[in-house]
Every structure is written in C-alpha cells, then in structure tokens.
C-alpha cells in the first residue's frame, strides 16, 4: 500500500521542521519571519507534492522553498527586524539544482543552535519546554497543549511570549561560547528530562504514560548527543557534561523499558515489584546498559548517570527479590552528595526501607514531611512502609492523603485498590 501525500507530509513535518526552521533562522535571525516562511513552504508542499510527487529530498525541497518564501515576505513587508543585508544573503544562498541538493553538504545543521535558543535560562521553564517541543520536536500547538493538559490558547500564548522575548531581549541564536556552555547544556538536559518525566509519569489526565512525550525527549536527547559529537572540534564541552548527556539518554531508555509492564490491561498502574518482568523491553535495556557502560568509562559521574545506574540495577534483577537494594541505597547516598533534593531523599528512604526495614525507612521520611506535604508519592511511600510494618490504620490514612493529592485517574484507581486490600487483610 502506498502512503498518501498527507501522511508522508505529516511524517516529514515532524522530521524536518526543526532542521528547516533552524536553517532559516540562521539566515534571517528573526524567529517569527523564519516560522512564517517555513509554514508557507509546508503549505506549498501540500499542493506541489500532490501534483508532482514527493521529492527525493523533502527537507532540501522545503528549505529551498522556505528561503524563496522568506525573500517574498521580506520584499512584500520589508520588516524592520530584518537586516537589509539579509536579502542579499538569502539570494546568494540560491543553489543551482535545488531538488538534488545534498542536505548534509549544503545546509549546515543549525538545530543545536536552535536548541540553545529555546532552552535559554532567561526564558521561563514552561516556555523552554513548549518552544523546544514546537520547534525541534515538530509538535503542533494543539499536540503540546494536549500533552500538558492546558488549553490550546494558553499554550499558543506561551509560545508567542517566548518568541517575543527572544526578539526583544536579544536572546542569541548560536552555540554558546565555552565559558557559558556548561550552564546552557544543563538547561537543555533539564528541559529534556522534564519532557520525559511528564510523559512517563503523567501527573494528570487519564493515561499513565504519554508515550509521545517520552519518544520526543529521547529523540531530542539523541539529537543533542549527535550534534555535540559532530561539532566536537568547535565545542569544548567538559567531560562531565559529555558523560551526563549519555547518562540522561541511558536513564530515559532504562526507565521506559518498563513502560509495557507498568500499565495493566485495563490501564491500571502496576508497581515495580508486581510487574511481569518478561514485558520489559530488552532492546531499550540493552541500549541503555551499553550507553551506561560507555558513560562510566568517562569517570565523571553526575546525577543522571547515578540515577541511570540505579535504574540499571532494577533492569538487571530477574525477580524483585534479586534487587540489590543495599547497592541502590549506596548509590542514592552518592547522589545526595552532589544533588540533594527532597525527592531524592524520598527515594533513598524507600531504598532503605527495602534494604533494611520499613521502620528505618519511616525514620528517614519523617523530616521530609514538611517539604513534600503536597507530593502524592511521599504519602504513597509512607503508606507502603506503614503497611509493611503492620500499622494498618496509619497506612490507610497516608493512602487517603495520597488519593487527595493525585490528579491522574489511573493512579487514583491504584490507590483505591490499595486501601481496599488493607481492609480485606484485616
């Protein structure tokens, strides 16, 4: 069966949008104009490809067309934001046989620059996330709004504000100089990990996992890794950060390897110790472990790598009883030395409750209550430890707190099931 032009176009959009936009932005230096020109090119593609068939190199066709559309727009509107020299640059960029372009050779890959612009720390985090998914992930406004469960106009406004700030504040479009790159790479990785965790442990809505967000985060992380590796001669990235990029990729792959086992046939949540481990994705685990191996060779452990090692210890355990909890406790202690947050302390307490006893775990939870008073996983962990320690009433109370704080429908079902099981056990 042949793919219809619209579905090819949809695939092309997600694949090529970021690169085409990045190239145009490199020439134009104006976010809005670049976006308009790329949109024009995709509209032209709908008509042109239907009649003449899909070109061999859709990305090159789109870039050339977008460039022409940009020239049209500049001639027509003559915007102040565009340097008069830009038109000359654009006209000079005319390739002789546009449809046979070698994309790799003729168009430098500007997506890394776009990544740094989208994740500039002067932009609020929510804008960084939306802009990254929109420009580099090729997601539409409606898709991002649906993924983050915000109304479409809210999300649209978020994107408009981000682009406006990029323009008026003079947020640069470039690969940052060496002394800034460390801070900026951190900011890129934070955005990618937030996209992933929102996909993997959806905080609200009906579904437990929103796979498209996980896929996007992993795809973009691979892209960042590839782009940085390719431009290794120009970017002097500290080893610790090279290791963390790989570490984050490994962490996301190892976590998502459990996605099919984590959700039951009725969409319900299945906790780690009750999962059917034969459903874990071997390919993700293998790739994650191989990446982790390579990362640890660099000898610059960081938060993502340590979390990936913990995830790997789970991945390697054939049964819940095989889990090396003492080792996991030790790794959380290492992690706390470099990255001390209430949530890591919570995970550490859970590991201690497994490695030593629920009572030891509860002792570590107590001082966290104030910081995590509105965090459902805290009460879930507490309830679970009370249950295992035989304090049924306290367990029930903690489950009820967790239930009140949970906005995800599937997690709510899971907690109700736990409360019911407590009553049955009585």
């Amino acid at each position: 069966m042949r793919n219809s032009t619209p579905s090819i176009l949809e695939g092309t959009y997600r694949q090529e949008y970021g690169q085409v936009l990045a190239t145009l932005l490199g020439w134009l230096g104006d976010f809005e104009l670049a976006e308009d020109a790329v949109q024009d090119a995709f509209l032209a593609a709908v008509e042109h490809w239907e009649r003449k068939g899909v070109p061999n190199k859709p990305g090159a066709w789109l870039t050339t067309t977008a460039r022409r559309k940009a020239i049209d727009r500049i001639r027509r509107f003559n915007p102040d934001s565009v340097d008069p020299l830009t038109l000359e640059t654009l006209e000079r960029a005319e390739p002789s046989r546009s449809e046979e372009l070698d994309e790799e050779a003729d168009f430098p890959d500007d997506r890394l620059k776009l990544m740094f612009t989208c994740c500039h720390p002067a932009l609020p985090l929510e804008q960084q996330i939306a802009l990254t998914l929109h420009t580099l992930g090729g997601l539409t406004t409606a898709e991002i709004a649906a993924a983050f469960l915000v109304p479409v106009p809210t999300l649209a406004q978020r994107l408009v504000r981000a682009k406006h700030k990029i323009r008026v504040a003079g947020i640069p479009y470039y690969v940052p100089p060496p002394h800034l790159i460390a801070e900026r790479v951190d900011s890129v990785l934070t955005v990618l990990y937030l996209i992933f965790t929102e996909g993997y442990a959806a905080t609200a809505g009906e579904a437990l996992i929103r796979q498209e967000l996980c896929d996007d985060a992993i795809h973009l992380c691979r892209l960042v890794e590839l782009l940085i590796r390719r431009s290794a001669t120009q970017i002097d990235l500290p080893l610790s950060q090279k290791a963390e990029i790989l570490g984050l990729l490994a962490l996301m792959l190892l976590n998502q390897s459990r996605r099919h086992a984590r959700v039951g046939s009725r969409g319900e949540l299945i906790p780690l110790d009750e999962q059917d481990r034969s459903l874990w994705d071997e390919r993700d685990i293998e790739e994650g472990l191989a990446l982790l191996e390579a990362t640890l060779q660099i000898h610059h452990p960081g938060p993502y790598q340590l979390q990936a090692v913990i995830s790997a210890l789970h991945a390697r355990a054939r049964t819940p009883g095989d889990t090396d909890w003492p080792q996991i406790v030790a790794l959380y202690e290492e992690l706390l030395k470099i990255y001390d947050t209430a949530i890591i302390r919570l995970n550490h307490a859970v590991a201690v409750s497994m490695a030593i006893s629920p009572v030891h775990g509860l002792q570590l939870l107590a001082p966290l209550a104030e910081d995590l008073t509105s965090y459902a996983p805290f009460f879930l962990a507490q309830a679970d430890m009370y249950r295992r320690a035989g304090h049924v009433d306290r367990a029930r109370e903690a489950y009820r707190f967790a239930l009140d704080l949970t906005r995800n429908a599937r997690e709510r079902d899971f907690i109700r099931g736990r409360i019911k099981a407590l009553d049955v056990a009585l």
Partner: protein, 133 residues
C-alpha cells in the same frame, strides 16, 4: 542592543560595612566600570544614594501626594544602573556576572525598549489613546 544593568543590593547590610572594606568595594566597582568602558560597551554608569534619600510621588484624583522613602519595602534596593550596548543578551549577562554587586546582591538585565517617542505619541493619538490638546 542596549541593556540596563540594574544593581540591587541590601542597603542595611551595605551600611554596616566598615570604611576600609567600603573603599575596597568602591575600587572594585570602578575596576568593573573601567573594564566596560575599555571594551566600548559602557554608555552610562550611575550610582544612586540610598533609598533613605528618596521621595516617592503619586498623583491621585489630581492631588499630589509626596512621601519619603522608596515605593516598596523590599529586601534589596536599586543601588545603581549601568547602560551598556552589547551584541546580545548573553554578552550583557556576562558583564552583569562580573559586577561586584552580583556576588551578594543581584543584577537585573533589562533590554532597553528602543522607542521613537514622538512617533509613539503620534500613533497613540491616532488610536484615540491620548487626548489631543
């Protein structure tokens, strides 16, 4: 692009600094502004007297009300501003990071709204936002 670097510091803590330390502090600010001057980015630098020297004016129902002190009680107060002309936000951020005040106060980097004021007034008048005299 032009940016204002607005330096916010805790005046109370500043007032408690002994004289010799204060002299060293002023030398540091001088070194920083000199560096900006030499690299050609500095347009204008201006320190401010403390907020205790300030007056705040409001007009309500066409009645003028003058009060002493700053508009709002905050932990850090505006202590000086530096107008610089840079390539982009990152360059401005880098100069801000070198400000002595960044070590315990904070530096707000604000892009200047390049506005043709007479033209803006004319446009506002056309849209009926300003009453024609």
């Amino acid at each position: 692009m032009k940016y204002y670097l607005l330096s916010y510091v805790d005046e109370k803590a500043g007032a408690a600094v002994p004289k010799d330390e204060m002299d060293a502090w002023i030398r540091k600010i001088k070194a920083w502004t000199d560096a900006m001057q030499e690299s050609g980015v500095l347009v204008r630098a201006q320190g401010l007297h403390p907020t205790s020297a300030a007056a705040t004016v409001r007009v309500r129902n066409e009645k003028m009300i003058t009060t002493h002190g700053p508009f709002a009680e905050t932990k850090e107060q505006l202590g000086g501003f530096y107008l610089i002309d840079c390539k982009n936000l990152d360059e401005a951020i880098e100069w801000a990071a070198q400000a002595p005040g960044a070590r315990f106060g904070s530096i707000e980097v604000r892009p200047v709204w390049e506005m043709d004021l007479p033209a803006a007034i004319e446009a506002a008048r056309e849209r009926g936002m300003l009453q024609t005299q």
